[in-house]
């Protein structure tokens, strides 16, 4: 292997005083800075420290799925901060990487804060080198220096700064240490008259010759692209066969011919090195990152086996790992169900009194139709949301925050990789699947941690079949209460079988190749109470913002539908399906319609609907209860979920899922009715 030598160098003679750039830079009181860095290095924590916002943070890679923005004031400057998604590279491998580099190249923020994990400097410098290649102004936040010190690593920031030609500020984001110094460095560099550009990354002689050959072509043949991206960077990306740049080039008149020439140059390099250019370039960058890290880092104490490492080892163990996972799952769901029930009862008793009071107040001066619309529609919706959904979602978010802040989730994903492969997904998909037990909406959005579009869609499809807190309410409140625990467990197990069966079918039907798992396993750390509270609060707020407007509007519409007197006609129309196929009283169609708004409403309205025909919930047989619950579990996702899904995948696919799920629910319900009637 020839190319393992550290042939990269940094060219330090690039102190440029570019007047052209300076003339535009009249002193102004506005600055735009972007945060760039690997996943899971504390970028979101720094963002929160800078802006005081509550961007959701977590100890698993990939949770910043959309870029967040905030502003702050510092030394008279109005600074806009953009938190880019965490990436390991700036290649065209994932959407996040393309979005990040295009933002940097096109929007040209004044300064990029490169957040770097001090305890894994070598791997983090790989991105830093690519930022230098993109020729953007950088200030480095050397984060988690405390953790590095714990690992026995001392980092010479002065040396690192000199080697790279960028200002390096040590920080400990969680405590806020170094944040002020970081801001001072940013403002100083952004406003300084003479621009000292960071050093240029220079590859080994052979590679340099090839890059230069391509750069000459780029400069002579292209006009538009070099106006956006640096020409040398373009040359490097073309040599690396970067899919995004290639696609952009194909759109040009001479682009195709140019790519042919570049290919020739690339294959020449390949014959010399015996590896493809992308691998050669990655190897070169890493060898260089390794060299820089070795020079700047002193290992002071030999790393001893800490409690965290022991924990990391035992939680991925062949036997103990799975036992711990099962234990964690039991505790999590036990706590959510027990806590949720308790909270739900308390809130319910408090709010019933409130809504009765309001109804009485309104009745004194409004016509009864309006009172019905307001009380049953608006207030009823809000009350049901507060008393049914929130008590289960809030405890779930608290526990989720604890799990993700500690770093356990990637371990669970690791253990489940095998199982997830059966449905064509890898271990990471276990995380949104777990989220699905709380609420399907964030779980759908969480599917973005999957790498390809196909995997995102596949994950979202199975996530929607996971019983969320609302469906859990129905399972526990109906089957659990009147039929018994074994039936509840049976339904949960059946659901898992269904998820895997359908996941497997979808995996076979959807075209495309499955992608293997590549996931960083973060270090364990003690979750901080503050982070857990902030996270729970911001997620709950998000849920309320997304779900409550839909709940209220939907409740009014359905209430209006009921008041219009059309309901009996609908019940008649649905009667053959309900009674003959599903074996349920025809009026049960009404709660199922309401369930499209929120699944737990089906239970609330079941007794109301049955009462209109002189029945009660208890007059249903055990089989009928189970059939009803199965239908609620599987059929059309709630409106909020469809909205979230539409945002991710578009109308066609969202409606497709809704139709498939509804058809499936009817099929399963009818079969269950026939089969269960034989035994029960």
């Amino acid at each position: 292997m020839v190319h393992n030598k550290a042939t990269l160098t940094l060219d330090s003679n690039r102190t440029v005083n570019s007047n052209a750039a300076q003339s535009k830079k009249v002193p102004r009181k506005e600055l735009r800075i972007a945060l760039a860095g690997n996943a899971n290095v504390g970028k979101s924590v720094i963002f929160n420290q800078l802006t005081g916002l509550n961007q959701v943070t977590g100890n698993w890679p990939g949770k910043t799925v959309e870029r967040a923005e905030g502003t702050l004031f510092f030394e008279g400057y109005n600074i806009r901060v953009i938190d880019l998604p965490g990436t390991y590279s700036l290649s065209a491998y994932s959407m996040e990487e393309i979005v990040s580099r295009d933002y940097l190249a096109i929007e040209k923020p004044d300064i990029i804060i490169n957040v770097v994990d001090a305890s894994a400097l070598e791997r983090n410098l790989y991105l830093t080198l690519q930022l230098l290649e993109l020729e953007v102004p950088i200030v480095m936040a050397l984060n988690q220096v405390d953790f590095a010190a714990k690992k026995g690593l001392r980092i010479d920031t002065q040396k690192l700064s000199e080697t790279l030609g960028v200002t390096v500020v040590p920080t400990v984001a969680v405590t806020g240490s170094g944040i002020n110094e970081l801001l001072s460095a940013v403002v100083e560099q952004a406003t300084s008259e003479t621009k000292v550009l960071a050093h240029e990354v220079v590859y080994g002689k052979e590679i340099e010759e090839h890059i230069e050959a391509i750069e000459t072509l780029v400069v002579s043949k292209l006009t538009q692209l070099p106006a956006i991206y640096p020409s040398r960077w373009l040359a490097i990306k073309m040599l690396e066969k970067d899919s995004d740049i290639i696609a952009k080039l194909e759109a040009y008149k001479d682009g195709h011919a140019l790519l042919g020439l570049v290919d020739e140059i690339g294959s020449e390099l390949e014959t010399v090195h015996g590896e493809t250019p992308p691998v050669i370039m990655a190897a070169e960058r890493y060898a260089f990152a390794s060299k820089i890290a070795k020079e700047a880092v002193t290992v002071e104490a030999s790393p001893r086996i800490s409690l965290e490492q022991k924990l990391a080892s035992v939680t991925t163990h062949k036997v103990f790992g799975y036992l711990i996972l099962a234990g964690v799952a039991t505790v999590v769901f036990g706590a959510i169900f027990a806590g949720g029930n308790l909270l739900s009862e308390w809130l319910n008793s408090g709010l019933v009194w409130f809504s009765d009071g309001v109804a009485g107040l309104f009745a004194s001066f409004l016509p009864s139709v309006v009172v019905d619309l307001l009380v049953n529609g608006v207030i009823g919706g809000v009350v049901a949301g507060i008393t049914i959904a929130l008590p289960y979602i809030v405890p779930f978010y608290v526990i989720l925050a604890l799990l993700e802040d500690s770093g356990y989730l990637p371990r669970a994903a690791f253990l489940m990789d095998n199982v997830m492969h059966k449905i064509g997904l890898h271990g990471k998909a276990f995380i949104p699947l777990l989220l699905g037990y709380g609420c399907t909406v964030p779980a759908c959005i969480g599917c973005r941690i999957m790498e390809t579009k196909r995997e995102r869609f596949l994950a979202a499809f199975v996530v929607m079949l996971i019983p969320c807190a609302a469906r859990t309410v129905v399972i526990l409140g109906l089957v659990g209460r009147y039929v018994g625990l074994p039936a509840v467990i049976g339904i949960y197990l059946f659901d898992l079988v269904l998820v895997f069966g359908l996941g497997r079918i979808a995996f076979k039907v959807l075209p495309g190749e499955p992608v293997g798992l590549i996931m960083e396993m973060p270090n364990y750390k003690k979750p901080s109470a503050k982070t857990v509270v902030i996270k729970t609060w911001s997620r709950t707020k998000e849920f309320v913002y997304v779900a409550f407007p839909i709940i209220i509007v939907g409740s009014i519409i359905v209430e209006a539908f009921a008041l219009s007197g059309l309901m009996p006609h609908f019940v008649n129309a649905a009667s053959p399906l309900m009674t003959w196929w599903l074996g349920l009283p025809a009026v049960v169609a009404i709660p199922l319609i309401f369930g499209i708004l929120r699944k737990e409403l089906t239970l609330v309205l079941l007794s109301t609907a049955l009462a209109t025909v002189g029945l009660g919930v208890t007059s249903l047989s055990a089989v009928q209860m189970i059939v009803f619950t199965l239908v609620v579990l599987i059929y059309i996702p709630c409106l909020a979920t469809i909205a979230a899904c539409k945002k991710e995948f578009g109308w066609k696919k969202s409606l497709g899922i809704a139709v498939i799920d509804t058809a499936l629910a009817v099929l399963v319900g009818g079969l269950a009715f026939r089969l269960l009637s034989l035994f029960m």
């Binding site: 292997m1 290649s91 491998y93 890493y286 163990h317 095998n418």
Partner: protein
Amino acid sequence: MQLRNRHGHSHKAKTPVNVDGSVPLNSLPEGSKAIVTHTSGGLCAVRRLSEMGLTPGCEITLKRKCSFRGPIEIEVRGVALALGYGLSSQIFVQPIEG
């Protein structure tokens, strides 16, 4: 380039050993150290692995192997990384003795 007799390929040999003496990463026992010689497979996978630091010549430690064709956990360049079974069989390494 080389040609291989399709029928002569032994299916019993559990660990294919390359000409240069390298073996697939997942054939090593837990706790072993090795040097990456090369990665095979699709361009996309190879590129991804090299971007995560698995480039020829780098040293890795196999920390954990899941049973039943499960993923592995390795340490590379000071970072713990989980790799799926398929990917881990595409990484060829030269074990370091001791």
